[in-house]
């Protein structure tokens, strides 16, 4: 009886976490380069009262065992690596990745962060930085008198300067690829950090044989959150929470019946 109470409570806690995750996905449905997370559940341990196939008598065995499960636990919030839609902005410093790669961003603490958000700006030194002011790694610096910035699909950044007709190459954007991008650690501000689960990054130039994908200049990658899907998930979470609370109520009422026995 007490088992049922705790089992139902585990279900309610899990659905609450599910709703927290759905809320975060929905809140970030307009965040550039955001990748939605999905909460996965798994069933907990089982108590075996009668093992299947154990001897019922000397001649016969029990056809089925008696196993009582002890609830549910949330296991992972895995990022879903589907491509978001492209939003054509026309801004030369808006870059979208078509493929599985990540931009490398140098964080203030010297660590390298990884991002799918390609909304770059220039800082006072002409370096390409994210909205938070963190530079691309390796850094790309645009000369102050550049009139036209072009980023090729292979990451080559070229500018044209007044008085010259030929374009000058100022750098190449490098990207990183992970064997298990679902295992990256989200730290906010569209930044992911490498973990032992994600594996070490494979670094290369876009469009190469590593499978990093290509860069699309003048586009931004929208978040890959499907609002309809999240709403459906939300309804499922809510109803599941409700049915678990129904179990708590039933267990409570059954306990009450037992307590009334002595009256």
């Amino acid at each position: 009886m007490i088992r049922a109470l705790y089992t139902a409570a585990s279900g309610m806690t899990a659905q609450q976490l599910n709703l927290d995750n759905i809320a975060n996905n929905l809140a970030n449905s307009s965040t550039t380069g955001f990748q939605q997370r999905r909460l996965a559940f798994s069933d907990m341990l089982y108590q075996n009262t009668v093992a299947p196939g154990s001897a019922a008598t000397q001649q016969t065995t029990n056809a089925a065992g008696l196993q009582v499960g002890l609830g549910v636990r949330p296991t992972t919030t895995e990022t879903i690596q589907t491509q978001g839609d492209f939003n054509a902005t026309g801004n030369p410093l808006d870059l979208a990745i078509s493929g599985a790669g990540f931009f490398q961003i140098l964080l203030p603490n010297g660590q390298t962060g990884y991002s799918r958000s390609g909304s770059f700006n220039l800082n006072s030194q002409g370096t390409m930085v994210t909205a938070d002011g963190n530079p691309l790694d390796p850094a790309i610096t645009i000369p102050p008198n550049a009139t036209n910035i072009t980023v090729g699909s292979d990451g080559t950044v070229t500018v044209t300067q007044p008085g010259t007709t030929a374009a000058t190459q100022v750098g190449t954007i490098q990207m990183a690829l992970f064997i298990n991008p679902g295992g990256l650690n989200s730290v906010g501000n569209n930044i992911y950090l490498e973990t032992t689960a994600s594996g070490a990054p494979v670094i290369g130039t876009p469009g190469g044989s590593e499978g990093l994908g290509t860069i699309l200049q003048g586009n931004l990658e929208e978040s890959n959150v499907s609002v309809v899907d999240q709403f459906v998930q939300m309804i499922v979470a809510q109803r599941s929470y409700e049915s678990n609370s129904r179990v708590v109520k039933a267990a409570d009422e059954m306990l009450q019946q037992l307590n009334q026995l002595s009256q």
């Binding site: 999905r38 089925a64 065992g65 196993q67 609830g71 295992g183 499978g211 599941s240 267990a251």
Partner: protein, 246 residues
């Protein structure tokens, strides 16, 4: 004391155990690949082996116990996720997984790639192909055909091992949506097809679970009334009123 008192008491204990299973089913209604369990009650004849004096004894001495719980092997619905490493299994098949405790079977096809490049479950256990764990080159789109053949970078990376359980098998739940059966009950599945980009939701039926919940609750209530009646009407009369009359 009347055997009816103990019969009602046993029935109450059985119903509380049944509630635990219903609670577990409902708690796992969002667990992908989960299979719900159903409980079966069995009756035990107290003093069996001795000749029964009357038909009445059959009823009064029959105790309702929670006999066993079995897995409901019905498929859950396949939900589209468009995630390339999500596999839904259409048919009775299970994926074979190499766990630390031996080979287990699962219907939870929400897979990942480990840092070693192996195709793993959410618990990090490698999924078995026909020739052992499957390694997938990184950063390439993975395509999985209906028969379980995995293609990456234009080359075949492996073929998923799909098995089914024989009809007489009683799969045991190991937790983490893993199930196990004795090796003799495992056969290769020919009827199952893999659907990439889909995941199988839990097969818990909320309607029947709530009905089971209500019936367990009401059965317990009924047993309580029976207990009270035996206690107040019959035993009290026997223990207190009859001595007073004499």
């Amino acid at each position: 004391m009347d055997s009816g008192l103990y019969a009602a008491c046993t029935a109450m204990m059985a119903r509380t155990d049944a509630l635990d299973t219903i609670a577990n089913n409902l708690a796992n209604s969002s667990t992908n690949g989960f299979r719900e369990r159903h409980t079966t009650f069995s009756s035990v004849l107290a003093g069996s082996g001795e000749p029964l004096e009357s038909q009445l004894n059959v009823v009064t001495n029959s105790y309702g116990l929670l006999g066993n719980s079995h897995l409901d092997m019905q498929s859950g619905s396949l939900t589209r996720t468009n995630n390339e490493l999500d596999l839904g299994i259409d048919g009775p098949g299970f994926l074979a997984v190499q766990t630390a405790g031996g080979v287990a079977y699962t219907r939870n096809g929400s897979l990942q790639i480990s840092t070693k490049g192996q195709l793993v479950t959410q618990n990090g256990d490698p999924v078995l192909g026909e020739t052992g764990p499957i390694t997938i080159p990184s950063g390439t789109p993975v395509s999985i055909s209906a028969d379980g053949t995995i293609t990456a970078q234009g080359a075949i990376a492996g073929k998923l091992k799909l098995v089914e359980f024989s009809a007489t098998a009683d799969p045991q739940s190991l937790g983490s949506t893993y199930y196990t059966v004795p090796p003799k009950d495992v056969v290769n599945s020919t009827m199952s097809q893999v659907r990439q980009g889909m995941v199988e939701s839990s097969n818990v039926n909320p309607v029947s679970s709530v009905v089971e919940l209500i019936s367990a609750q009401r059965a317990l209530e009924g047993m309580r009334h029976a207990l009270t009646m035996i206690d107040t009407e019959i035993d009290k009369t026997a223990a207190q009123d009859i001595p007073r009359i004499s």
